[in-house]
Every structure is written in C-alpha cells, then in structure tokens.
C-alpha cells in the first residue's frame, strides 16, 4: 500500500506541466533548410517567326541568371508535365506543383525589324496565382541580353523581396602578358562576363577603376606620366581627363561621392599618404587625415556621412571609420592579421574587406561597428571586393601564385555560398560593380 502511494506520488511529482488544453498548439521553429528554390521557365513564346532564336536565347539567359545566384534551381524542361506554349493560356497549377516548381516564369517575344518586345509573367505555383503584374519591355534586338536580365531581375525581386542586380555592368582591368611585363587596360562588361569592351589601350599602366553611382563615369589611377595620377573617363565617349587634385607627388585610390560631384582619394606627399576630398570639376580639395602613416582606400557610406579607410597607424593595416568631413577615426578591425580595401555595402549594413593572415588572403565582411566578422573566401591572393547593386553578392579578384600566376574575377554570395568565377577570355583584376541600369 505504501509502495503504491509512493509510486503514484513520485510519478505526480515528476510530472511536468501539462500542455494547456484551452489555446492553440504553439510551436517555435528556429531551424529551417537553406536550399535553392525550384522554378520553371518554359520556353518564351515566339510570336512571329523572326523571334524564334531570340526567344530561345532569352529563355536560357533568364534561367542562367536565376540559377547563377545559387538561390534558385531550374527544373529542366524534360521534367515538365504540361507545357505552357501560349503566353495567354491559363496555368495548369497542379501540373507545376507536381514537379515541385514553386515559381513559374512565362514570356512572349516579338521581333519586327530591329525592334524587340518582350512580355513576361510570374506565377506563384503554391498559391495558384500570378505574382505581381505582367511586364513588357521594348528595345532593339541587339539589346536582348539586357531584356533577359530585366526579366530575371523582376522575377528575382518579386520572389526574394530584394532589388535585382542582373542588368548591371562591371568595369575592370583586363590583363595580358607575363607577370613581369603585364599589359593592363580598362574594360567594361555585363555582370556575367558578356559584352566586353575596352576603354583604354595598354600604353599606360592603369589600376583600380571605380564606377560613378549612376554609371556614366569611371575614376581610375594611371601611370601614364610615370607618376600615379587620377583620371576621369566618360563611359559614353570614352574620353579621359586628369583629375585636378591637391598639390602632391602622387594621387591614387579614388572613389566617387554618392551624388557623383566629389571625389575622395589618397594623396602622397613627402613620404606620407593621406586621404583628401575634392570637387570633381573645380579641384578644390580638403585634407581629411593627417597622420604620419599610410591612409588609403577610402569608401563612403551609402548616406554619405561616413568614410571607412585603411591605415597602418597602429603598426599594421587596419580599418577605421571617420566622419566624411574628417576628424577622429575609430578602429573597427581587431582580428589577427591585416585588413585592407574596405568597401561599404550599398545596403549600408556591412563592410567588405581583404584580410591577410598567416600567408593567406581572404575576402570578408563585417558589421559597421566591426562585429560579426565573417570570412567568405581563402586563397593565395584574393583582394579588391566590390558590391552588387543590391548588396547581396561580392565580386573580387583572385590571383594564382608562381611564375605563371594570373588574375581572374570571382563572385560570392554574402552568405559565403555560391563562389564561382566570371568567365572571361583574358586575365582580369580590380572589378568595380556599377548600378542597375534604368
């Protein structure tokens, strides 16, 4: 008897609280999966015979843009249960659900003479409804790649809620020749490596071009005179002029202000390198740092109120932030190794940088107060990150070691996933990602 009571009491005592019978079942989920979202893009319909090839090419490029982000996975046409051959037909949602497509992109293409018209629609398969409105783009046939990028941008931004980045260009340095006699020239390309065009010849050594915020000009460093000088290049005319800077022996590492009217740069004088700010047209300038150490690689915040730069005033290269008018700088990098080439994200939340530690180079990101430092890559020599217009992807330069070492461009998502090269015929370095084109 006593034992019975004892057992019962023990069981009662050990019983935890019973789930409330009155309210709904409540759960918290903190662990999900990270996997690409499957989508399907049945071939864009060619509304007339001349459009057949363009329609097929457009379809492929839209799919490649989305799959290339690492956030989407294309379901191949061979898996489709029903086709969507007419732009106007209603969507058979169960067929698309059955193959696990979560998004469906359809389009139609018309070509008349030199004119190209592209229509597209995006469907949310699980809700069984269209996502957003249909869109129509018009332009020349030559610009078909840009239209494909615009379609992909629209799909991307509706699904992820972020801005797109496919219809953008990157200015970089194209490299040929052996390591001890490198020929470098400025070049521009679509973000995916297509449509490469040269902006300078290789008669003068050129470095580190930087796009203006609206994509109409490029600032870069040129050794044409034997001394590093900053030039301004107009993209439309490919004309260049030298930037008027403060008096100094060398000027380099320039960047535009957010409205494109001012430039922040490094000026070297009497053995010391400091950061200056000047008007792009008049040349009137202000000195922002005056430490006896090397201060260089400045980058403005998106709201234009702060500057992040690298300095070796502590003995090794580290990152510092100061007001855009100069003044006291506070250090934000504290890990092992050296930090350089800081670039402020267009979203304003992160700073990308190059880190050197124990003989390896890394591209990394950290918050603007220096916390949450994350390294995204590791290799013999990675440097020079640049941000995509939506702040989701970083492009950088990677160089291989040894006599035959060459440079190429790579991109990586800010989560560190989806590291992949940009396919280019020659060596390439110093990328600078321009804005989304209107």
């Amino acid at each position: 008897m006593l034992k019975r009571i004892l057992i019962a009491m023990v069981a009662l005592v050990l019983a935890g609280p019973v789930l409330a019978q009155g309210g709904p079942l409540r759960l918290t989920i903190t662990d999900g999966v990270i996997e690409p979202l499957p989508f399907a893009v049945p071939g864009f319909q060619a509304e007339n015979a001349e459009a057949t090839q363009v329609a097929a090419d457009l379809t492929r490029l839209v799919a490649a843009d989305l799959s290339g982000t690492g956030l989407f996975r294309e379901i191949p046409a061979s898996a489709f249960i029903s086709t969507h051959s007419s732009f106007a037909q209603t969507v058979a949602y169960p067929d698309w659900r059955a193959i696990n497509a979560q998004a469906l992109i359809t389009g139609a293409v018309t070509v008349s003479g030199n004119q190209l018209v592209v229509k597209f629609r995006l469907y949310d398969v699980f809700s069984g409804a269209e996502m957003g409105e249909g869109l129509q783009f018009a332009g020349t046939v030559d610009g078909w790649r840009r239209m494909a990028h615009k379609v992909a941008d629209a799909a991307y931004s509706r699904i992820t809620g972020e801005g797109g980045y496919f219809d953008s260009r990157v200015v970089f340095v194209s490299e040929t020749g052996p390591k001890d006699d490198r020929q470098k020239r400025l070049a521009i390309m679509d973000y995916d490596g297509a449509n490469v065009q040269f902006l300078t010849d290789s008669s003068a050594l050129v470095l580190a071009p930087r796009f203006s915020p609206n994509g109409d000009r490029v600032l870069y460093t040129s050794f044409g005179s034997g001394f590093p000088r900053i030039n301004v290049l107009d993209v439309a005319t490919v004309g260049t002029r030298q930037l008027q800077t403060a008096e100094g022996e060398m000027a380099f590492s320039p960047r535009f202000s957010k409205d494109g009217s001012q430039v922040i740069y490094s000026l070297a004088n009497g053995g010391n390198t400091d950061i200056y700010r000047g008007d792009i047209n008049s040349g009137a300038s202000t000195r922002l740092t005056s430490a006896p150490s090397i201060e260089t690689a400045p980058s403005l915040s998106p709201d234009g109120t702060q500057i992040v730069f690298e300095s070796d005033r502590s003995g090794t290269q580290q990152l510092y932030i100061m007001s855009a008018n100069g003044g006291e700088a506070r250090r934000i990098s504290f890990g092992d190794g050296r930090y350089g080439t800081p670039v402020w994200s267009p979203r304003g939340d992160l700073i990308a940088f190059t880190k050197q530690n124990a003989g390896r180079f890394h591209i990394g990101v950290m918050r603007t107060d220096g916390s949450e430092e994350r390294l995204l890559t590791a290799s013999f020599l990675d440097e020079g990150p640049t941000w995509s217009p939506n702040g989701r992807v970083i492009m950088f330069m990677r160089e291989t070691q040894g006599e035959g070492g060459t440079s190429s461009l790579y991109s990586v998502d800010i989560s560190g996933r989806n590291l992949k090269p940009v396919s280019l015929p020659n060596g390439a370095s110093d990328p600078s990602w321009g804005p989304l084109q209107p």
Binding site: K3, P76, V412
Partner: protein, 364 residues
C-alpha cells in the same frame, strides 16, 4: 641486557597493544544506510501505473515520413521506357508532392570552387598551445548545396534526388500483360549539410559525415517491469520501483489522469515536418524577421482555410512579407497530404500557431 631502556620499551609496547585491544576512544558508529519502504503491488496494478506514465513510441521516424505504397509513386519521366499511364501523378500523397525532378544523373556535387592551391597544412601548434586540446574543433560538414538541420549523406551515384530513399525497382520482364508496375528509380534525399560551409572554413580534406546529432525524443524505458510476473519477491519489487521511477523520469510529458496530451515526440515530429519545407535565404533581409502564423487543421491533418500572419518583428514591411510568404509556403507544402498527428488528440492540434525565427540560422 637489562637496562632501563629495555624496561621502558617493554612497558610502552604492552601499553600500546593493550590500548588498541581495549579501544578506548576509537569506537565509532557504523555508517547509516537508508532503507526504503516497500510494499507489495500486484502485477496488473503495476502495469497500469507504468502504461500511464510512458509516452507512446514514435509512429514514424521523423526523418523518413510515411513510406509510400508502390502505386502512389509517380512515374519518373526518364530513360527507361517508363509508362506514363497508370499514375497520373496525384498531388494527394506527400511523396508525389516531393516527386524527384529527374535531375542530371549525378548528384549535386560539392561546389567546384575548390581553392586553386591546395590548402597549406597549418603548422602544428606549438606545445604551449596545449590548452587548445580541451576543445577539439567540431568536425566541419562538407560543403553541400542544401543546408538542413540534419546532415544527409550524398545519395548513391545513380539515385535521383527525392525526399525519401527508395531502392530501384525494375518491372519484371515477365509481366507485360498485366498492369505494368511503374519503374521506380533509386531515389535518395538530396545531400544536405547542417551548416553553411564557406571556402574560408572548408575542411582541408577530411570528410566529416558526423554532424552534431539531432536531439531525439527519449525512447520509453524498457518495458521489462511489465513483463515481470507476480511481483511478490522483494527483488522484483525493487526492480519495478526503479523502473517506474525511470519511466516517469524519462517521460517528456507524463500523463495526467484526464487524458493524454500531445507527447514531446509528437510535437517534435510535427515541428520537423514543417521545418523541412521552410526555406530560409540567409543573406536576405527577411532572414532577420521573426514571424508568427496561425492556421487550422482538419481531422486528416490538412490545412483548413488559410494561413494568417499573427505577429512579426525585426524587419521592414517588405522583408516581413517575404518572411511570411516563406512560412506560409512551408506549412502548405509539407502539409499538402496532411500532417501526421494523432487523431485521438485532435482537439489539441486543431488550431496551431507557429513562430518562425530564422535569426539563429544566419550565424551558422
């Protein structure tokens, strides 16, 4: 030799021995030990007590939900002359919904972003770094295209990607006249890692398939006490009491007299069933938004009505909307064929509120 020293020594020895024998001042009480009261309980009464405190064993393994029956499997449109006839894929069954898109035959390989230069072997730490030994680094999972709470080994080379593992079934060549069995390809769940592995922390080559083990609901205590015959002997009683205590301790949601609440394993199974479909994009703004949604289920476990947003925090309107859509998709996708919850407890899970909090995932 008869010296004074000898005498003193002899007296001392005798005195010591005598003291030890007599034991003055050396006594102590024997140590106390506890005696627990035991009373006799009959075998039937005891079985009743044990059954009431033990959780139900898992109905289904959370990682491999209901194994489908052959005729539910949709036909794969692949090389073999697979008959399209019989199963026009019904979205009804969950496996159909997770139908493997016939991917390129090879499983998604780890990203081919292998560093150009073989990673240099780090110099062995100096001896002074001995304190490091206390914390051996957690083995890094291989970089995989899909990141999920449970690691999944890469599927066998000729397997199509699907949610459930099945063996290949080839129709018997002798039975052309009968209903042709659908060709069932070998399928296996897509390879998954438990965390994002960037190039910067990719392992140098050691393949680590041992990830952090997922905490499992406790198994019920061994049922041996119930098999004990009449509990008349003291030994059996002791074992019975010990086992009952164990069972009560092991139970995650011990029962109250008025009716069984949902057990821990059942809620855990429900949670796992939903989070498998919850796709988070760690680099996005929506990955900072915590959103709570509410919905109702019918008796078969399917979502009844729509999924409503109840609360949200941590982001702009746009980011919140994206987070809500992802949560809603997770519930609808994984619940298309009904969630596996015990029907005799329907009242407890008819209305559900789930909070999706992705903030921990971003830092993995």
């Amino acid at each position: 030799m008869r010296t004074p020293g000898t005498y003193i020594s002899a007296v001392g020895h005798v005195g010591l021995v005598g003291w030890l024998v007599l034991g003055w001042g050396l006594s102590s009480e024997p140590l106390d030990f506890e005696v627990s009261e035991v009373s006799v309980v009959s075998g039937a009464e005891f079985a009743a007590i044990v059954a009431a405190t033990t959780p139900q064993p898992d109905v289904a393994d959370p990682t491999a939900p209901v194994v489908p029956q052959i005729d539910d499997v949709p036909v794969l449109i692949e090389p073999e002359p697979a008959p399209q006839a019989a199963p026009a894929p019904e979205p009804a069954s969950e496996p159909a919904q997770e139908a493997p898109p016939p991917e390129a035959p090879e499983p998604p390989a780890p990203p081919s972003d292998v560093v150009d230069v073989a990673p240099t072997v780090p110099a062995p730490p100096a001896i002074e770094a001995a304190p490091e030994l206390n914390q051996s680094p957690r083995p890094q999972p291989r970089p995989a295209p899909r990141v999920a709470p449970e690691a999944v080994a890469p599927p066998p080379p000729d397997a199509q990607v699907a949610e459930i593992a099945q063996d290949a079934v080839v129709p018997d060549a002798e039975t052309p006249a009968e209903v042709v069995e659908p060709v069932q390809e070998a399928t296996a769940p897509e390879e998954a890692a438990t965390e994002i592995v960037t190039e910067a922390d990719a392992p140098s080559g050691a393949v680590a398939t041992s990830a952090r083990p997922q905490s499992r609901p406790d198994r019920p205590a061994p049922q041996t006490p119930a098999q004990t015959s009449t509990a008349s002997s003291d030994n059996a009683d002791d074992a019975a009491v010990a086992a009952a205590l164990e069972a009560a301790l092991a139970a995650t949601a011990p029962a109250l007299p008025e009716g069984p609440p949902l057990t821990g394993s059942e809620t855990e199974g429900f949670r796992v069933a939903v989070n498998r479909c919850w796709n988070v994009d760690p680099g996005s703004e929506a990955a900072r938004v915590t959103v709570t949604v509410a919905f109702s289920l019918d008796q078969s476990g399917r979502v009844d009505g729509d999924v409503r947003q109840v609360a949200a925090s941590g982001g702009s309107d746009g980011a919140t909307s994206i987070a809500f859509q992802a949560a809603r998709r997770a519930i609808l996708r994984c619940g298309a064929s009904g969630y596996d919850l015990p029907s005799d407890k329907y009242n407890q899970w008819r209305d559900v509120e789930i909070t999706f909090d992705p903030t921990g995932m971003r830092m993995r």
